[in-house]
Subunit: 144 residues, 2 copies
DNA sequence: TTTAAATAGGATAAAAACATCCGAAATAAA
DNA sequence: TTTATTTCGGATGTTTTTATCCTATTTAAA
C-alpha cells in the first residue's frame, strides 16, 4: 500500500508531533529507536519532510526536528503520503494504466475508484493531532 | 497498491476469460500484446496462476492458456491478488507493523482497517466474469 | 516417428526500493 | 574563537522487483 519510506515518515511525524506538543525536539537516533526504523534511512525521509515543509529542522547543538504546535492540528496524513509516495495512491488506476479514466475506464475502474476515494477521504481527514493524541494516551503504539 | 506482476496477472486473467468464453486458447504473445505487458515476464506470471489453479495451461501444439467456463463466474479478484501478492493487502497493517492488531493497534489501525476491509470486500465480491463481460461489451479497456 | 508449436523453468540482467557511510555545513555553548 | 553537536547531502552498497534469454519438455499433427 505505502512504501517503507512512507510508513517510516508517518510514524516519525507522529512521534515528532507527540514531542513537539511537549516542547521537545527529537533527533533521528531517538526517532528511529522509537519507531523501529533504520536510522540513516529515516534521516533521509526526515529531510524530505522538511523540504516539503511538513516538519522543521534546527541544525547545530540542541537542534533536532519539531513541528510547530499550531501545525499539528492542520497537517493531514495525505500531505505526508503525498510528500513521500506522490499522488498515485490518490489518483492512480488500480491496474496501473496511465490513461484510465471515466471516459475510457479499465475493467476495475468503477469498483476500484470507490475504495480509492474512501482511502483518499480517510487520509485527507486524519490529522497528525488525533494520531499523536492516541499515542500520548497509550491507546495506540509504534512498536511491540 | 498492487505489484506490477499482480496488475499484469489480473489483466491477463480477464483476457483469458474473455477468450475462453469463446472457446479460444491464448498464448503469452497474444496476451502481452493485448494487455501491454512484457511478454516473458507475463509468461512467468501465467505459470504462477497455473500453479495456483486459477487458470489452466495446455502444452504442445495448439496449446495455450484457458479458464474453464464454469470457473469464470466463480473466480474472484481476491484469489488472483492473493496468488501473486500474498495476503498483506487483506490483513496487513497500514504502517507495516507485524504486531498491529485490535488489542495493540498502531496509530492508523482503526481508520485504516475500515478502508482495507472495504478493499477486501470489493476484491472478494468481484468475479472474473463481470470484468470479462465489461471488456466484451466494449465498456472497459486494457489499453490506450 | 518426426516435426513444429507450445508451455516450463533456470540463469541472468536491469531498475527501483531500501539502506548505510562519511564528510560538509550550521549553530549553540564553553 | 574553539569545540561539540547536530542536520544536510552526496556516494555507495544491498535487496527486491521487474524483465529478458535460452534450453528443456510436452504434445498435436503430419
Amino acid at each position: 500500500m505505502f512504501s517503507k519510506a512512507c510508513e517510516y515518515g508517518i510514524k516519525a511525524s507522529i512521534f515528532i508531533a507527540v514531542n513537539s506538543s511537549q516542547n521537545r525536539r527529537v533527533n533521528p537516533k531517538e526517532i528511529a529507536k522509537e519507531i523501529n526504523s533504520p536510522q540513516a534511512f529515516t534521516a533521509k525521509i526526515l529531510q524530505d519532510l522538511v523540504r516539503h515543509n511538513i516538519i522543521k529542522s534546527v541544525k547545530g547543538a540542541h537542534g533536532g526536528f519539531e513541528i510547530e504546535k499550531e501545525k499539528i492540528a492542520s497537517v493531514k496524513l495525505s500531505q505526508i503520503v503525498n510528500a513521500i509516495d506522490g499522488d498515485a495512491i490518490f489518483n492512480g488506476c488500480g491496474l496501473g494504466m496511465e490513461t484510465c479514466n471515466a471516459k475510457r475506464p479499465c475493467p476495475m475502474h468503477d469498483k476500484f475508484k470507490v475504495v480509492r476515494d474512501e482511502l483518499k477521504h480517510m487520509l485527507e481527514h486524519t490529522t497528525l493531532e488525533e494520531l499523536a493524541f492516541s499515542v500520548q494516551t497509550g491507546e495506540t503504539f509504534f512498536r511491540v
